[in-house]
Symmetry: C2
Subunit: 630 residues, 2 copies
């Protein structure tokens, strides 16, 4: 069936279900959604259940596009009169092309109303379709810039979404039935995640990360024919924003990819922030720059965001659903339903099956599941991590000890994930009197990453959401946290009172942490506290191993007198026990498990342990292999 | 290094080694060979060992191209005066482009002389480089047409060989090291053999056959991206001429392939014969024709023939060597040496590890071997075949019995392989008085296939070669064999004396065998003797299973009164015991074995049996997978 016939058929079905008198002037695929154009958006809004019923019966995600619109100036007043005062609206943007009005508010829930009642009231008043986003409680340059940029490319995006919509809903022509996964990176290694999922009809790339490695360019095997031409890729799916998963996505656009990148909304924002920072770091190191910020913009322009649980057509024979992975903000397990009940496969990305301060444990229940690709970072037989509680106790002890002797605590940490966990632990420690009230300085991109966290509290775990929404206590906004944004302030911190400093980079290869080390390493009252994994070859690892003199640049040497402490247990990954438990609990039990994203011995050990314990077929694939699923 | 520099370097090295006074005017890659152009071909011929030494030191196959040539008319006389009378020269063809003179003779050995002495004498006399081929003792239309066609495209071939030569010797640019095999067909099934061997630098396709299957188009998975664009394939390697290995090679040219197909010389001739017949059969069945005879010509034009044991560069990092596979005339195990000692992998094609009347057992010793792809046609635990001797006894008994009662024996057989085995058994039976002297009629393409066998006696086993060359007794030329080439003769055979009829098709789905069945099935004195495997769904299988009435066309029914006999043991494949023995004997022992070309349960059973007995890692791959070797 050609696409026009298909749309006509859908329009006829919609007309059957819509009450008499409501006109549907056009239906159109826009990205994964079905857009219904109507002259009567207000009456559509009147029928509270209509959209839900259409979505269920047509098995499509539905959006309503009004064709007759109120004047924006009048509409602003109408919105403000419908929405209760307390919503804290900070911006209203009208997009005449889509008939959408984007409302930015401090309390999006108030704009939405119970079960969307207030949203419907807005439509009834003005005809426009409202969309609501949160005003970041901490100002975020990234969020602001992403939102501005997305507005500026609105017209292009509309064309893009229509093109993609029609591609997604194209007719299936090949009669063969098979499902394959090709490993383009991240097998028997950590880094450069890239997996190609293919059927006779479609091709989807899952992640496209980098691997910091001096001997190599650190790119996945993008030169092999399996993935070419890139223009024929249907979709890129991004599990989360860490660079080993997202760094090289803009490179795909440079090489000719023109399709969408699906991710959760926070992953999109974090990824673009980290990609730009990645370019900055490479530029400073005088290495070859793989792509430019223009390619990051291409990525954003082609991004399509999906929330957890939303089942979405991304190719004629592939439905994608994201589920919470518990690893970092917005991190997702990507579940693919292939064909009409033919096969189901999930890629965990990085996941934490334990509960953390920020996130719920990773989801382990799926409607169906035949094959699972799971990370194995801590897959080795002895890769046990202390309980989170014990880790926090050790952190408190260390902080108490150092502050007592009037020292300063330096905590090198990744901007995204680890920093926020440590922030929350320290904030609670102070609130509950377990550690003294001192300033906690945040340097590097930590503040910015934290701001993005506060923009998406829906992605945090239930305890933290309750704290924020019910008790009105957003720990990220606590007074103890001070952003270091100038050299003057950095100097004051160094010279000032005992305090805690959380700063990038996490493995001490560059970043503001070097400045603190330079000034504070000589004094044995201070302490350097590692809360994250220090990779081989990094300065962090060297200091951890006991080096007492480290080079700074080419001329200087820093003498390490300060105390060195390692606090394990703040990891965003499942440890060995949690990985095994996840496999034991995952519903339904998959037929095949592939262990990836881990050192060679760990992926092999985990695969054979899973096979022995659960009698599930396992593989520890190598890069550049293709496995047939069915 | 660019190719021009490389050639200059080679030329310098050659000049160092060549005695003073011999000028080398040019060196050039021509296909896998290095062509040395010289004004002094006669002096080159004087230095008996020079070419051998150059080949060894440069690790290249060397050909000498004279630049100054004697007039062909005079040269003919000179050749005839140099070559001894008994050679039986039947044709001489001068190719001024390459400076080669092609001598067709009944006894090529006499033209060559001991260790090539006579050939050198020819060059010394005329300057031209002689190449010798055998005059088919039985006239072969195929051989004649192939040779004529190759002459007619001489100019194009010269360009082609230079282009390929330069491609083969191009500089290696990629620094990665890996070797992969992608299965495009023939896994857990018999038919449509197609395996892609790839490295970062090169791609080689091994076989490209069809699978007779009504539900499917029977083509390997040529639509997957791994093999595209076809124009970037470095080489196609053909193990042998059966249609499940060669039928779709011409299709590659239709789809844009422009590179060489490597095979032994008899495989090239047999393949083109069977491909043309394949087109004819499809045309008669009113099915969609996949390609035309023009594509078969493209294949021939791009074919490069190699003899067993000749180590040949086919890509910058791949050397190919063919070894006897014992299966049919020219059948080869293809051994690939990858990189500079990086990896070695062999594809058995179809092979027979037992000795047959025509061929020596398959070669099982290789210089090096890490991975082996082996056929599993008879890989099932119970797939034992009777000894060849017992099979022949049973055939003799049957023939005796039928002839005694004045009946006729119909033996349906494949044109290539099985027919010649049965011919030789029957001829010896008559010669030694084990069965009566009657006519053995050959119908269908059997005579033509036999003629091709007699063109290449070097490819037959040592006993048969001795019989032919030492004892001057070519059993294929025995008087008992009579070609049926007209309807009149066919009628005479049917009405005539007791006799044996060997005729195509082997599984009785069409071909002249139907005519014999039509006329002889009603008489219980006659017998139908199956010597080959009858696949499910064929008329042969039905009759074997006991059907006593079979349809002929749409209107007629044949009543089966004649005796039905099955004689197992004439197979060209190794049976289960021989497959296991082959693995036990193969030197050196490979690290990995892949069982292919067999029904699903047989490949799986063979793989697990090999693992249990020999502790070698085995896989029974599925189609569309990619295995990383290193
Ligand atoms: Zn991660
Ligand atoms: Zn990761
Ligand atoms: Zn064969
Ligand atoms: Zn075969
Ligand atoms: Zn395997």
């Amino acid at each position: 069936m050609v696409i026009e016939e298909r749309l006509k058929e859908l329009r006829d079905k919609i007309n059957e279900k819509v009450p008499a008198g409501i006109t549907v002037s056009q239906v159109e695929f826009e990205g994964p959604e079905l857009a219904i154009y109507t002259d009567d958006p207000k009456r559509f809004a009147d029928e509270a259940d209509l959209i839900r019923i259409l979505a269920r019966d047509l098995r499509k995600r539905i959006v309503i596009r009004p064709t007759i619109l109120e004047e924006p100036e009048k509409a602003v007043n109408d919105i403000k009169s419908v929405v209760p005062e307390g919503a804290g609206i900070t911006d209203i943007f009208f997009d005449a092309d889509t008939g959408e009005v984007l409302i930015e508010a401090e309390k999006p829930g108030v704009v939405i109303g119970k079960n969307g009642a207030t949203l419907r009231e807005i439509t009834k008043a003005i005809g426009w379709t409202p969309k609501v986003v949160r005003t970041p409680p901490i100002e975020s340059t990234t969020v602001k810039q992403v939102r501005q940029f997305m507005r500026s490319v609105n017209d292009e995006r509309k064309d893009f979404l229509r093109t993609i919509g029609r591609r997604i809903h194209r007719e299936i022509t090949n009669k063969d039935q098979w499902v394959r996964v090709t490993t383009l990176g991240c097998c028997r290694e950590v880094g450069r995640a890239a997996f190609l999922l293919s059927t006779p009809e479609s091709k989807v790339l899952i992640d496209c990360g980098e691997k910091p490695d001096n001997n190599n360019n650190g790119t996945p095997y993008l030169y092999v024919p399996e993935i070419h031409p890139l223009s024929q890729l249907d979709a890129v799916v991004l599990t989360h924003a860490h660079l080993d998963h997202c760094a090289l996505i803009p490179l795909l656009y440079k090489y000719g990819y023109e399709g969408p990148v699906y991710s959760t909304p926070p992953t999109r924002d974090l990824a673009s922030m980290l990609q730009l920072d990645y370019l900055e770091v490479i530029r400073k190191e005088d290495k070859k720059i793989p792509y430019t910020s223009a390619d990051v913009k291409s990525y954003l322009k082609h991004s399509i965001v999906l929330n957890y649980g939303s089942v979405t057509d991304i190719a004629p024979d592939i439905k994608l659903t994201f589920h919470n992975a518990g690893h970092i903000l917005g991190s997702a397990i990507a579940h693919f339903h292939l064909g009409d009940g033919l096969y189901n496969i999930a890629f965990t990305g990085d996941f934490n099956y334990g509960k953390s301060r920020l996130f719920n444990p990773a989801v382990s229940t799926f409607p169906r599941l035949e094959a699972l690709f799971m990370e194995s970072t801590y897959g080795g037989a002895n890769d046990m991590q202390p309980a989170r509680k014990d880790a926090e106790e050790k952190l408190y002890e260390t902080v108490n000890k150092v502050l007592e002797r009037s020292g300063k605590v330096i905590i090198p940490a990744f901007a995204v994930g680890r920093s926020q966990e440590v922030m929350l632990a320290l904030e609670e420690g102070m609130r509950l009197g377990k550690i003294p009230n001192v300033k906690i300085y945040l340097d590097g991109m930590i503040k910015e990453a934290t701001a993005i966290h506060t923009t998406y509290p829906e992605y945090l775990n239930s305890d933290l959401r309750n704290l924020i929404f019910r008790e009105g206590l957003n720990p990220f906004l606590a007074e103890c946290f001070v952003q270091v944004d100038s050299n003057e302030l950095r100097e004051k911190v160094v010279l000032g009172d005992p305090c805690v400093i959380i700063t990038t980079s996490g493995m001490m290869n560059g970043g503001p942490v070097m400045e603190y080390l330079h000034n504070l390493a000589g004094d044995e009252k201070n302490a350097l506290v590692f809360v994250g994994y220090q990779a081989d070859g990094t300065l962090g690892r060297r200091i951890q191993k006991g080096w007492r003199e480290v080079p700074l640049g080419r001329r200087e040497t820093i003498v390490i007198n300060l105390e060195i402490v390692t606090v394990d247990g703040f990891s965003g990954h499942s440890d060995r026990r949690q990985l095994m438990n996840f496999v034991g609990h995952v519903q339904p039990h998959p037929e095949k498990i592939f262990t990836i994203h881990g050192d060679e011995n760990k992926t092999i050990d985990l695969a054979s342990s899973i096979y022995k314990r659960y009698h599930i077929e396992t593989h520890s694939p190598m890069n550049l292999e293709t496995y047939r699923m069915i």
